[in-house]
Structure formats: C-alpha cells, structure tokens
C-alpha cells in the first residue's frame, strides 16, 4: 500500500508541476509554453517560462515538501498529532527578520536582502532554542523553549508594525507575512534549495529513531536511540528547512500540520514512512494551492498563506472533532 501511495503522490506532483507551468497571466498556449521552456523559443515567452513560472513551480514543490516533512518530524518527535513546524518558533523568527528588513529598507537595498534577513532571524532563533532547552532536556523543554521564542518573535513583529512610519510600510509587511510565491526568481530557488535539501537528508535518515519513539523516550533510548543527538538533528534540520521556506515564501501555515495528519492512515501510522509521504504530500498541497490562488481570483493577488489557512483550518477542526470522538 505504501508503494501505491508513493506512486500516486509522485504522479500528482508531476501533473501539478506541469499544470503550474502552464498557468499564468501571460496566457501562453501549452505548446508555446513548452517550446519556450525547453528550446528557448521566443524572447518574452522564454523569460516568462524560465524566470517566472519555473522558479514558482519549483519553489512550490520544495517548500511544500519542506513543510510537510518538518511537520511529520515534529509530530513524530513529540508523539503529538497537533505538533507543527512553527512550534519551534523558527518561522516566527524568520518572519521577524524579514519584517525588520522591510521596515529598515534593507530589503530594498539588494535583491536578496529580505530572505537573508529572514535566514538570520531563523539562525538566531535556533541558537536561542538550543541554549534554552539545554543539552539533555526532553521533549517538554523543547516545546517550552519553542513557545518562548515564538512569543518573543511575535512581540517584536508587533512592535515593528506598531512603529512603522506609514500605512504603506505596514501593509507591505502585512502582505509579505501572508505568504506568497508570486514574482520569485531562480535566485530564490538557489537560496532556499540547499537548506531544504540538507534538512531533508538529515530528517529522512532519522526514520528508525522516530519509529522507536512510538514507545516513548525511555524505550527508544533502550533500543539504541541517542535522544540528545536526535533532538539536536531535529532542531537544526527543521530550522534549516522552515527558515529557508519562510525566507523565500513568507508564512505558509497549516501544511505541516494537515499533511501528516491526512497521510498517517495510509502509511499504517508508522512515523518513518510518514516522513517521506508527508514530504511528497506537502509538495502536492502547496503546488495545488499555488495553482488555486492563480485560478480562483486571478486579478486580486490572493496570497498563498491565506488560501492554505482557509483550507487548513477546517481540516484542523476535523482533526479536533475526531480526537474528541476517540476520547469518548
């Protein structure tokens, strides 16, 4: 069954990726699009395909994969279906970095000013979390450290908004925080991809440890899992992936929460299988959502993060409802 799931998800990714390349305000025919993308026919068309649509589709796929995988890893580590990548406070801190860059004008200084500032925010958050949670602490101290860092980042973001000089600056910040993949270039892909690939390689290698954690921390340790090392790997990998994703796309919520939840029954609830399944599923969800924002309201610049929240929140409610049913 897991092989069938993998095939279905990969087929969906390929189909949605192709669809994503063929949709856009330029209104190119599929034949023209593909000719421009592959053979470079037509100057304007080639520019549209290679510099606008291709990076957008690639970013949707890798950011979705990053969020799905990070969500599955967080849930596996904490053995809690309500855990999500934002719990570590890394996305909040990356957003804070970006907001400061927008506010100070650093973002306008050079092309990658904003994502760099966001990455610096993410790195600082990781340092703070590791310092707060200590080398030997368990899962609980990690959550508390994450909540503290999240709250701090949220407070400073509010402060920056509060002090913004004019409504235009504030609205620019607000719109950035909603999350979007519009107008991203290949430079953004090259910036985010290394962090995401690195984090994914690290997390996918921890499958056994997440499986063993099904039995709790003590049993996992007795099965040979080094919990301190696992926790450090988790924090670094999740931060690397989520920090990079937030840096180039803003805050895209609910993907890391909802995707593992939907896919869990299809992998017999085994945390190791859920890792790769959620990476593929996340890519599917974000590719689909990014197509939807272009199709549903093409003239209004609907933000990706808004759409994932609108779709994700009801799914989250469903999760709460189901959990309540089990408790009875």
């Amino acid at each position: 069954m897991t092989r069938a799931l993998a095939l279905v998800l990969v087929a969906l990714i390929v189909a949605l990726f192709a669809l994503s390349l063929l949709i856009g305000p330029a209104g190119l025919s599929p034949a023209t699009s593909l000719a421009a993308l592959i053979r470079g026919e037509g100057l304007a068309e080639t520019l549209v395909m290679r510099e606008i649509r291709l990076p957008r589709a690639i970013l949707a796929a890798i950011i979705g994969a990053a969020l799905g995988l990070a969500g599955a890893a967080m849930q596996g580590y904490l053995r809690n279906p309500l855990a999500e990548p934002g719990l570590l406070g890394v996305s909040g801190s990356a957003a804070l970095g970006a907001v400061i860059a927008l506010q100070t004008g650093f973002a306008a200084q050079f092309a990658l000013g904003l994502p760099f500032a966001a990455l610096i925010g993410a790195v600082l958050a990781v340092g703070l979390i590791i310092a707060l949670a200590g080398p030997r602490g368990g899962a609980l101290t990690l959550i508390l450290a994450g909540i503290a860092v999240s709250a701090l980042a949220g407070a400073f973001t509010a402060l920056v908004l509060n002090l913004s000089p004019n409504p235009f600056a504030a609205s620019e910040i607000m719109f950035w925080m909603m999350g979007s993949l519009a107008d991203r270039s290949m430079t953004h892909v090259w910036l985010a991809a290394p962090f995401i690939v690195l984090g994914a390689v690290v997390l996918l290698a921890q499958g056994r440890a997440f499986d063993a954690l099904t039995l709790g921390e003590d049993s996992a340790a007795s099965l040979g899992v080094n919990l301190s090392r696992l926790r450090l790997m988790l924090v670094l990998a999740v931060a690397s992936m989520v920090g990079a994703a937030t840096a180039v796309a803003g805050a895209v919520g609910f993907v890391g929460l909802v995707v593992p939840h939907i896919l869990r029954p299809f992998v017999r609830a085994r945390p190791s299988s859920l890792l790769w399944a959620s990476a593929l599923g996340g890519a599917v969800l974000v590719l689909a959502a990014d197509i939807a924002v272009r199709v549903v309201l093409p003239d209004r610049d609907l933000k990706l993060g808004v759409l994932t929240a609108i779709v994700g929140a009801p799914l989250f409610l469903h999760l709460v409802f189901k959990t309540r049913g089990q408790a009875l």
């Binding site: 099904t214 709790g216 003590d218 099965l223 017999r268």
Partner: protein, 251 residues
C-alpha cells in the same frame, strides 16, 4: 557472561544519594524480583544501571555503547506508551530495531523472533489489531512481546504486573519465569509480594538507599524484614505450589 553487574554503584539526586554502595550481580537463569517500598529507588536503580541517569561506580550495561546495550538488554518502563495507532505486528517489530542495520528490512530471523514473542504472549490473533485501541492489559502484553522480540540475554521490567487482572498477572509471571528457565536473566521491580515470593528465584530488597536483603524468597521474606522495611506483617508459608506471602496488616 554476566550482563547485569553493579560495583560500588551510587546515584545522587541533587545533594543527597538516592542509592549508595550497591553491589549487585545477576547471572543467567535468575529471575530477580526487585522489591522495596515506594521511593526506595527501584526504578532509579534500573534506569541508572542502563546508563539513563548520571551515576558513580561501575555498571556493566552503562559501559556498553548504546547499540551493544540494545542487543544485551530489553527495557520495559513502567509508563506504557504507544504513541501512534500502529498495528500490533508493527509495534512488536520495533523490538528488532537493534538487530537491523540502517535501512535493512526484517529478515527470517527477525520474523521468527516476532512470531515467537507474539505466540508466547498469546497475541496470535492480535497481529492486525491497532495497538492503541486495545485494553490496558492487552497493551501491556503487546509491549512485553516487543521486549521479548528484542531477544536479549537480559530483560528488565519496571512493575510489569501493575494494572493487570489476576489471570494476566499470573500469565505474565509464568512467561518471565519461563524466560529465566530458558537461560535469560530477568529483573523486574514488583510491589506484589505474593507474586514475587511465588515466581522469583531471588529477591533483592531496596531500602534507605541500600540493599536490605538479597537471597531466595523464603530467606528474604522474614517477619523481621517485612516489619522493618514494609511496615507490615504477613503470613509466609512453604507450600507445594512454592512460597506464599500474604500481607495481613500494617505494623
């Protein structure tokens, strides 16, 4: 080889020692019942011996690498945690993790160990059941099967009998005693003196940070020790079913 050996072993929590001057060796074929009132340090002794807590002195298990240790001892903590709705078969398979290289799928030897563990815990019909949907007693048996599937020379369990009905308590003790007869060493902390007297080959009583008594059940469960350590009086008798210990009242 002796798996469990503590020499001049001590564990501190904050400034004071919870355990000190512990010298304890458990050989193959022994079923050791670890007794003591609440807070005597039974769990602490086992976890520290496994290297999960800072300690002084020498523990043979703590000296091993994590991977070697996982092949020498199976540990069954008191908290019966099953984090995800996995099937019984998948859960018991987790016991084989220490025997598999990274990315290696369970082979014939692993499947044989899993089947044997399921059979010994009477779980043959439970393979595809979802572990989190089972009753507490059934979950306990599944987790014990996981530890048996690990197929280690030493099995350590923290209050494995707690929360089981009488039939399953007796069944569990039968299983653990049978494992000892097969040549494994078994160490289990127990609160039920009756079960301990009846099934264990050796009892170790922890009290005030040290070992108050160590020996065969009939030698350990004296009226004096029961009054001093447990503050109870009990009826202790040798029968053809083995020693019987029935607590009668508080001293």
């Amino acid at each position: 080889m002796t798996e469990f050996a503590l020499t001049d072993f001590a564990v501190a929590r904050g400034p004071c020692d919870v355990l000190r001057d512990i010298n304890l060796t458990v050989g193959a074929g022994e079923f050791v019942g670890l007794l003591g009132p609440n807070g005597a340090g039974k769990t602490t002794l086992m976890r520290a011996a496994l290297g999960m807590m800072p300690h002084r002195g020498h523990s043979a298990l703590a000296a091993l690498s994590a991977r070697d240790r996982a092949r020498h001892v199976a540990w069954l903590p008191q908290a019966r945690e099953i984090g995800w709705p996995v099937s019984v078969a998948d859960l018991v398979t987790l016991g084989r993790l220490p025997h598999l290289a990274r990315g290696q799928k369970p082979g014939d030897a692993d499947r044989a160990a899993i089947e044997a563990a399921l059979a010994r815990m009477g779980l043959d019909g439970f393979r595809t059941r979802i572990a989190t949907q089972l009753s507490g007693g059934e979950q306990a048996r599944v987790l014990i099967a996981r530890a048996l599937a690990q197929d280690t020379p030493l099995l350590m369990a923290d209050e494995p009998a707690a929360g089981l009905d009488p039939a399953h308590q007796l069944g569990l003790m039968d299983t653990l005693a049978a494992e000892a007869t097969r040549g494994r060493s078994v160490i289990a902390s127990l609160h039920d003196l009756g079960l301990a007297a009846r099934y264990c080959t050796r009892l170790v009583v922890l009290w005030q940070g040290g070992i108050a008594a160590d020996g065969p059940p009939q030698d350990v469960l004296t009226p004096d020790l029961l009054a001093r350590v447990f503050q109870i009086r009990a009826h202790v008798q040798q029968t053809e079913d083995g020693p019987i210990c029935q607590p009668l009242g508080v001293v």
